[in-house]
Symmetry: C2
Subunit: 123 residues, 2 copies
Amino acid sequence: MQRETKQRKAIRRAITDAGHPLSPAELHERASDEVEGLGIATVYRNIKALQEDGWLAMVELPGEPPRYERAGKDHHHHFHCRSCDRVFEVDGCPGNLKSVTPDGFKLEDHEFVLYGRCVECAA
Amino acid sequence: MQRETKQRKAIRRAITDAGHPLSPAELHERASDEVEGLGIATVYRNIKALQEDGWLAMVELPGEPPRYERAGKDHHHHFHCRSCDRVFEVDGCPGNLKSVTPDGFKLEDHEFVLYGRCVECAA
DNA sequence: GTCGTTGCAAAGCGTTTGCAGCCTA
DNA sequence: TAGGCTGCAAACGCTTTGCAACGAC
């Protein structure tokens, strides 16, 4: 990644402003506000480039298309609201992982997703 | 679902024999051993029918195509081996979920995936 | 001016659907 | 024999890629 185009700038800004993980389509929609005619292929290409650059991190939830957030955050997990479909960050970790790992298996990593209603939708 | 065709029988058997979740492609491959010329569309249609029938359960892991296992098992999670790409069942649950749920959020469900090396690949 | 980047359109890939013929009950 | 089920091929939705033009440096 070498040049700072207006498209790339808009995509960066969309991620930064969102505050929660965005899908490629959401990212395209938001960045299009700033750059008219932005192509979806450009969004995908920049997602890849920004990931390789270590600026962007992929958030994969079961059964969901991938979303993206700023990289470099502390270890965290996600809460997926079934009502508004938004994804929120959750600090902390339940721990206790070793105790459920089968004997002989080598645990390297884990993912962990909460489902329910966010504070707005629970009201 | 009303008729017991040889295709459906083969698909049921493939799931039962596997002992771990299978992707549609794996299911097609295994069931094809028993029924020559089995169409992939038939596999997908039966996956849907068997799910609606409550016989089959979908296992969705982050960033992975869906896999399927027998329904009706006790609450469990999965271990995904990064070496052989197989998915194993893990009994138990780390608990402690309430403590990481943000205030005001209503927790309804959770998913939880371990990554690493299975006992065979760790050797 | 160079060559990384872009938009468009075509190609991929996994999944779904329309349809005519098949076969279970 | 009826109509659920199947295989095939076309259609889909999302993502990737080829290509000629564009524009950041």
